[in-house]
């Protein structure tokens, strides 16, 4: 993009030119008027003097005549046009106006005016600069805002308290437009994500079926193989049979793991039927302590369970809530593994109720937080930063929350991350 002159620069030069012209015009007109007045006065006084001298036939010495006429007159040089000819004592005198003297006397008389003119000129130019600034700055801000939006950034333009109506209107409209664009982008992102998930689901569903059947067959055959080996020679007596049993055990373990992954994939693409009932969140806390306590202890993490309200009853599926808490907590425990040793590792599970009729359940960690560059991808299926992760934990959490008709929020910083799930309160259930 080629950069021409800015509107501000053009306005400044125009205003400066106007100021300069106005001052020159005013001072010029005033000086010209003074010159004309002085010249006319000199001519009139000269005519009066001529009349009195010639009428009475007086003889007046040259220097007296020049003294009476003042500095505006001088003797005409030979060959020069005379503005005044008078006869004094029989002698012709030729006089002319001394323009240089007239101008000098005007400038001496009008020097205050000239000073005021210069003061006015500088003041006008400074004012021009300020006016250009005030008028063009909102446009520059809008241009900056448009560039930001084009660069895919969210932007809200401030509007000064003293901004005129038009600028205020323009800024408000711009901010509304920026909000709409952002909303539209969010919707587009959601639609594109749903499309991706649908395609992914179809593919996973087909693949899982194809893998699961041979896996089941392989598991049965392995069991049969173990029985055969044990029948031929008991493992406790024969070392070769013992080795074979160990190898078969490893194969069984790996097959079970593969089966587990396939089940997880299937449950992700074809979640089980949601059974929404009244669930007392308070009951989840003892479960958390018993299920998560040993895990947390193993990783040197302090588990804290809290409740900000008593007897909070929400409409949900208890089993799914437990899965949700488990997924979030395991994620939190893994996140805290990378936090420095000096920082206390705390996993906090909190339940409570909001004033707006929603119950909540939050899982917080004291880990290093989620880096900004991956925040928008953490709910994508199969997105993981760990070598052994499936990348389904948080996407399953999101799917569960959506299935329960709730909402999920995330707050992350250097101090840690908090996931909060909001669910509708059971209107008939007890709540303190």
């Amino acid at each position: 993009m080629t950069k021409g002159l800015s509107l501000e620069t053009i306005m400044k030069w125009i205003f400066m030119g106007l100021a300069l012209s106005m001052v020159s015009l005013t001072l010029g007109a005033r000086l010209h008027q003074s010159y004309i007045e002085k010249k006319n006065y000199a001519l009139e006084s000269a005519q009066e003097l001529k009349f009195s001298i010639e009428e009475h036939g007086l003889y007046v010495p040259d220097d007296i005549i020049l003294g009476r006429l003042g500095v505006s007159w001088r003797m005409a040089r030979p060959g020069e046009d005379a503005k005044l000819s008078l006869r004094s004592g029989g002698k012709d005198l030729k006089l002319t106006l001394d323009k240089k003297q007239i101008i000098t006397s005007i400038i001496e008389e009008e020097r205050y005016l000239l000073l005021v003119g210069l003061l006015g000129l500088i003041a006008a130019v400074e004012l021009a600069v300020l006016i250009s600034y005030v008028l063009t700055r909102p446009l520059a801000r809008l241009a900056w805002g448009c560039r930001k939006i084009a660069g895919d950034a969210a932007v809200t333009l401030p509007c000064g308290a003293l901004a005129p109506y038009e600028i205020r209107e323009l800024t408000d409209s711009f901010n509304d437009m920026a909000k709409q664009i952002k909303r539209w982008k969010d919707v587009q992102m959601q639609i594109s994500r749903m499309d991706r998930l649908a395609a992914l689901g179809e593919m996973i569903s087909g693949l899982s079926h194809e893998i699961r059947n041979p896996l089941a067959s392989m598991r049965i055959q392995t069991d049969l193989l173990r029985l055969e080996v044990e029948a031929m020679a008991p493992c406790a007596e024969n070392s070769a049979a013992k080795d074979a049993c160990e190898i078969i055990g490893i194969i069984e373990k790996e097959l079970d793991r593969l089966n587990g992954i396939v089940s997880q994939l299937l449950s992700f693409v074809r979640p089980k039927q949601v059974m929404i009932t009244s669930v007392l969140l308070d009951e989840l806390l003892p479960w958390c302590r018993s299920m998560l306590g040993p895990q947390a202890e193993k990783h040197g993490i302090r588990l804290v369970t809290r409740q900000t309200s008593d007897r909070v009853t929400v409409m949900a599926d208890k089993e799914m809530l437990q899965q949700l808490i488990m997924n979030l907590s395991l994620n939190a425990i893994q996140a805290m593994e990378s936090s420095p040793r000096s920082r206390e590792r705390v996993l906090t599970v909190t339940i409570g109720a909001e004033d707006d009729g929603r119950g909540f359940l939050s899982v917080a960690d004291s880990g290093p937080g989620i880096p900004e560059e991956i925040r928008h991808r953490i709910f994508d299926p199969f997105f993981t930063t760990r070598k052994e992760g499936t990348g389904l934990g948080l996407s399953t959490v999101q799917r569960i929350v959506e299935g329960l008709g709730g909402s999920l929020s995330m707050d992350t910083s250097d101090e840690g991350t908090v996931f909060t799930v909001f669910l509708a309160l059971d209107s008939d259930g007890p709540r303190a």
């Binding site: 620069t9 400066m16 000098t104 020097r111 000073l115 003061l119 130019v125 401030p158």
Partner: protein, 475 residues
């Protein structure tokens, strides 16, 4: 033709030139760095021009001239020698100043010695001393203009410099540099023309040499007393240290595009400044020998009267050069005072995260311009108050500068970081008591205070464990 016409024409031309040359400000892409330092992209020649133009103030022009006219070469020994002595210190601090990437000298002190209180204390002192400096420029300008236009010295005459200075300072450092190029050109032309036309019969090398040697003057035969020599030495030392530590020069070193440009600027400047002093000294010595002035007279007015002994055009150039000297120094000092107020003393909005995009920067620079207007207005009012003469105001300012900056800038290894704030506070307080309450000459007081600073640093270094004292500076 009446000299008034020359004066008016020259003055009008100067006004229009300043308006056209320095007219742009409030740019959308302005930042603090571009406003205070021109983005640290000023090349050697404009840097040299602004360095020299800022150097030549009515104090070093009119004040020195009239002292020379009155007392002869003792003025040269004490003042010009002192100032040029200060110039010798600058090459030693180029690297130290530029490595910190700061926008102001108080910030440099903070980043170097790690105490934000030092930054605030020095910023406050700078605001005070630059207002005093501004009073000098405003007064000299007002009197010169009133003489040139034959009007009473008052607000009308002084308002012009107020508007000039606001106009040039609103554009920040780049605007100041542009106006300084014009001002330096006018100053050098003015003093060169004055020196050339000073001798009544035209310039004659032999006669000029006699004038420089002050042949026939009774003062050449007079021997200086010990008190005079000591006084001249004290003034020379204190003015030298004042120049060496003066932030208006240090900031120009920081604003240079490269270190090479900074060294280039410091190498060329002595020649320009030297030429200026040579011309002024010669012109004043001719006036002293040939044109006696009647009785006691205000110094700027007396200097303007000396100008009338020159041909009209030369006299006009000389008086315009006094105006240029006043404007060039005033806008630079006003920018530094506003920077101290907005950036160092109350640095609100200087945190990058406190606002979105360029809005915060824009708001900050607008506040800066409001501060410029406020400080200039205070100086304008004070220039009509009954303050001491130029030399006294300059002496007060220079000594304060030396007290604040001499040790931190030039002897950093001597400074005890953790004690710097207390030492500077005690030093400034003591200097104020000695000068304003007891009435000691600022130079003598400053020498005592600098000695006290050294003793305090030594004392702390001796009695405090090295780790607690925080010796030296942060590289």
């Amino acid at each position: 033709m009446s000299p008034l016409i020359y004066y008016l024409a020259a003055f009008g031309a100067y006004t229009v030139s300043i308006i056209l040359i320095t007219g742009q400000s409030f740019g959308w892409n302005e930042t603090k760095k571009s406003f205070y330092l021109g983005g640290r992209r000023i090349s050697m020649l404009p840097s040299t021009a602004t360095f020299c133009a800022t150097w030549i103030s009515p104090l070093s022009f009119v004040g020195y001239s009239m002292w020379l006219y009155r007392d002869g070469y003792i003025a040269f020994l004490a003042s010009v020698n002192g100032w040029l002595l200060g110039l010798l210190f600058f090459p030693f601090i180029v690297r130290r100043l530029r490595e910190k990437y700061v926008l102001s000298l108080p910030e440099w002190l903070w980043r170097t010695y790690g105490d934000v209180r030092v930054r605030k204390l020095v910023a406050l002192t700078m605001i005070f001393l630059y207002i005093l400096y501004l009073v000098i420029q405003f007064r000299a300008f007002g009197i010169t203009v009133s003489y040139m236009l034959d009007i009473p010295a008052g607000f009308a005459a002084t308002s012009l410099i107020y508007l000039f200075v606001l106009y040039t300072t609103f554009g920040g450092y780049p605007s100041v540099v542009r106006s300084d190029v014009l001002n330096l050109f006018l100053i050098i032309i003015g003093v060169s023309v004055a020196a050339y036309f000073a001798l009544p019969g035209g310039f004659e090398p032999k006669e000029a040499f006699d004038v420089i040697l002050m042949k026939g003057s009774p003062e050449t035969a007079r021997k200086l007393t010990f008190a005079e020599i000591f006084s001249a030495f004290a003034i020379m030392l204190s003015w030298g240290l004042g120049v060496a530590g003066n932030p208006q020069y240090a900031i120009r070193i920081i604003a240079c595009r490269t270190k090479r440009d900074a060294y280039g600027m410091l190498s060329v400047s002595p020649f320009i400044v030297g030429w200026f002093y040579l011309c002024v000294t010669f012109f004043v010595l001719v006036c002293k020998a040939k044109y006696p002035l009647p009785g006691s007279m205000e110094e700027t007015l007396a200097f303007a009267r000396l100008g009338q002994f020159l041909p009209d055009v030369a006299g006009t150039f000389l008086l315009i050069s006094v105006i240029a000297a006043a404007v060039s120094t005033a806008n630079s000092q006003l920018l530094l005072a506003a920077c101290s107020l907005c950036y160092d003393l109350f640095p609100s909005g200087t945190n990058a995260s406190s606002g979105e995009g360029p809005f915060e920067e824009d708001r900050f620079l607008l506040l800066n311009r409001a501060a410029i207007t406020a400080i200039a207005s205070i100086a304008l009012v004070l220039s009509h108050a009954n303050l001491p003469d130029y030399l006294m105001l300059g002496r007060i300012s220079w000594t304060l500068v030396a007290i604040c900056f001499f040790y931190p800038l030039f002897l950093p290894k001597m400074v005890v970081k953790n004690m710097l704030f207390y030492v500077l506070s005690v030093a400034l307080l003591l200097q104020s008591v000695l000068v304003f309450i007891i009435g000691i000459s600022p130079e003598y007081a400053m020498l005592a205070v600098l000695l006290l600073e050294a003793v305090l640093f030594k004392f702390n270094r001796y009695f405090m464990p090295e780790g607690a004292a925080g010796l030296g500076y942060n590289k």
